[in-house]
């Protein structure tokens, strides 16, 4: 197993080093593209940490991301907390939420789990809007900070590095081993004495934690938080799509989905500004037909348990 040696770590250091000085090398546009790439890399990679080995497709990224962004907004606007306080609180709340969700969804499998997480995300979005409407009231959720795009980029880079480090450590740990067995056959995993419930819940918590952290970090870019924008179901779908495009059985798989996807999007936007959506749709179809196994080519075993 490649995960068991230190080569990725050695290779990773110069990459991160280059990434860290990127803001000094490129203009604002490429920086914002890089922010976009990092945001989706962190989200897709942490998503794949759970969904890759367990093959449970979660469509709840948008909910956790939204919790992060929304808590920052409401904390700063309604409770006059500092951004940094909320940056700490938001992921903790999301992690607790993820633990609860993880516990109640243990019985679900395949597509039922997928759509459960989608319904849950929608319920959270509606509940938050309702609570905001009836109990908090609002003159708008403003996130006014002095953070620049560079600051946000570095924070996202730090999160992305943390996700990769976590994933690398996980690959070497007992928990990671347990998850792989679990993904291959849950019954076998139980027979050999793996606490499958615990493993699944812990991993789900980490995806919730990272998604909320990303949501909280990018909130200052949005300036004005609308619950129905930050709790975006589209985000949940995009994270899954990008990870699938890349491949979810390698730690760096989603990265290989996010980068081509982002660049493809940019090229289409520049050359076909009035038909971006249509062209993107065609590009997707071409990818499916001509790159059948994702960028990494490992998607073939994916979702074995999607079988009804």
């Amino acid at each position: 197993m490649t995960q068991s040696n230190y080569l990725p770590l050695v290779l990773g250091v110069p990459v991160v080093g280059v990434a860290a000085v990127l803001p000094f090398l490129v203009d604002g546009y490429w920086l914002s593209v890089a922010v976009y790439v990092l945001m989706y890399t962190a989200l897709s990679t942490s998503w794949a940490l759970f969904s890759g080995p367990t093959r449970y497709i979660a469509l709840s990224t948008g909910a956790f991301f939204g919790v992060g962004g929304y808590l920052v907004g409401t904390g700063m606007s309604d409770y006059e907390q500092s951004y940094w306080t909320m940056l700490v609180i938001a992921p903790i709340v999301a992690t607790i939420l993820a633990a609860l969700i993880g516990l109640v969804t243990l019985r679900l499998s395949g597509v039922y789990f997928v759509i459960f997480t989608l319904g849950l995300a929608e319920m959270i979005r509606n509940l938050v809007s309702w609570v905001q409407n009836n109990f908090l009231g609002s003159r708008g959720l403003y996130v006014l900070t002095d953070l620049t795009e560079e600051h946000i980029y570095w924070m996202l880079l730090a999160i992305t590095v943390a996700v990769f480090l976590f994933g690398w450590l996980l690959g070497r740990s007992r928990l990671g081993f347990a998850l792989r067995i679990l993904g291959n056959d849950e019954q076998v995993a139980q027979h050999v004495g793996i606490d499958t419930a615990r493993a699944k819940v812990i991993l789900f918590m980490t995806t919730g934690f990272f998604a909320a952290l990303v949501g909280a970090v990018v909130a200052p870019r949005y300036y004005y938080i609308e619950p129905n924008v930050v709790f975006s179901p589209e985000l949940s779908f995009l994270v899954v799509i990008m990870a699938l495009l890349g491949g979810i059985h390698r730690l760096w798989g989603p990265l290989l989905g996010v980068i081509p996807f982002t660049l493809l999007w940019e090229v289409i936007t520049v050359y076909l500004p009035n038909a971006t959506t249509m062209a993107l749709g065609i590009a997707f179809l071409l990818i499916v037909y001509f790159i059948p196994h994702g960028v990494v080519g490992l998607a073939e075993k994916f979702l074995k348990r999607g079988e009804v």
Partner: protein
């Protein structure tokens, strides 16, 4: 009584939205993320024909049904059948069909935006009808009647005809169905096409009382997914009952508790049902 009537009407439109996807996912095994866009396409057709020629959406409906059937058949044969054939297992097919239909949904949104980028809104049969002591909108009542017709028709077709039997056999197990001599490829295409037809017709009907726009399809896709899963994949009764439950719950909560909680409570019911029946109301236990 208000609650029951408006719950039934709402449930009827939810059933319209979900029945097509149930056939497509339950039988043809295609998780069709472009389902909502197809619905909006039906709505756009009704709106466009009505505002340019004044022709009744109830006439457009038949054209949309035919085109929906033929279009979906072609989409399945040309784009999806190759994916079905090349995929070694259900998991691979799901990944491919999710990505492919996601692409199709983008494409359709782009097409519709270029046709009409504003809201699709018009008035058709927007008059009150007194029904059992309450007032309902005629267009919703008409949609409900169509939902009953379509739901009943699908049920009879699936349960009383040879073709329906084949479709149900494929829904249970494509492998076994193939072994007993059913042409799985053809039956899947048929189910996918009928599903597309129902969804297109649903779009026409829904457009008479809900204001849509080119980009709103994903909302309907999500609603349909939730209803299909809540009812159980591959069983048309499940979708209809799930749709009615959601309609009733939303209507009751809106009237008795707070309209602000309607959608939240509908999702809550969905979650609770899955927690107690992890395979949906009528679903079979995962093999």
């Amino acid at each position: 009584m208000d609650i029951v009537i408006s719950g039934l009407l709402l449930g009827g439109s939810y059933a319209l939205i979900a029945m097509g996807l149930n056939l497509q996912y339950g039988v043809a095994r295609i998780m069709n993320l472009a389902n909502g866009e197809l619905l909006v396409l039906g709505a756009l057709a009704a709106f466009w024909v009505f505002t340019t020629t004044g022709m009744s959406p109830l006439v457009t409906l038949f054209a949309v049904a035919i085109l929906g059937f033929a279009g979906s058949w072609a989409v399945y044969r040309i784009f999806l059948a190759p994916l079905v054939r090349r995929s070694a297992n259900q998991g691979q097919l799901e990944v491919d069909s999710i990505l492919a239909t996601f692409g199709m949904s983008f494409f359709l949104v782009g097409v519709m935006v270029s046709i009409h980028s504003e809201y699709f809104t018009y008035s058709f049969l927007a008059s009150p009808v007194a029904l059992l002591g309450t007032t309902v909108a005629l267009n919703r009542l008409v949609a409900f009647c169509f939902a009953v017709l379509i739901g009943g028709g699908l049920y009879l077709w699936l349960n009383r005809t040879r073709a329906g039997l084949a479709v149900r056999a494929v829904a249970v197990s494509p492998e076994a169905a193939g072994l007993v001599g059913i042409n799985v490829d053809r039956v899947s295409a048929l189910a996918f096409a009928v599903g597309g037809m129902v969804t297109g017709v649903a779009g026409v009907l829904v457009s008479t009382f809900i204001t849509l726009d080119a980009s709103v399809g994903v909302i309907f896709t999500m609603k349909a997914l939730i209803i299909v899963i809540m009812g159980g994949v591959g069983d048309i009764r499940g979708s209809i009952i799930a749709a009615l439950i959601l309609g009733m719950v939303e209507s009751a909560v809106a009237t008795l508790i707070d309209p602000g909680l309607t959608l939240a409570s509908a999702y809550l019911i969905f979650l609770l049902i899955l927690l107690f029946r992890p395979q949906g109301l009528f679903g079979r236990r995962a093999a």
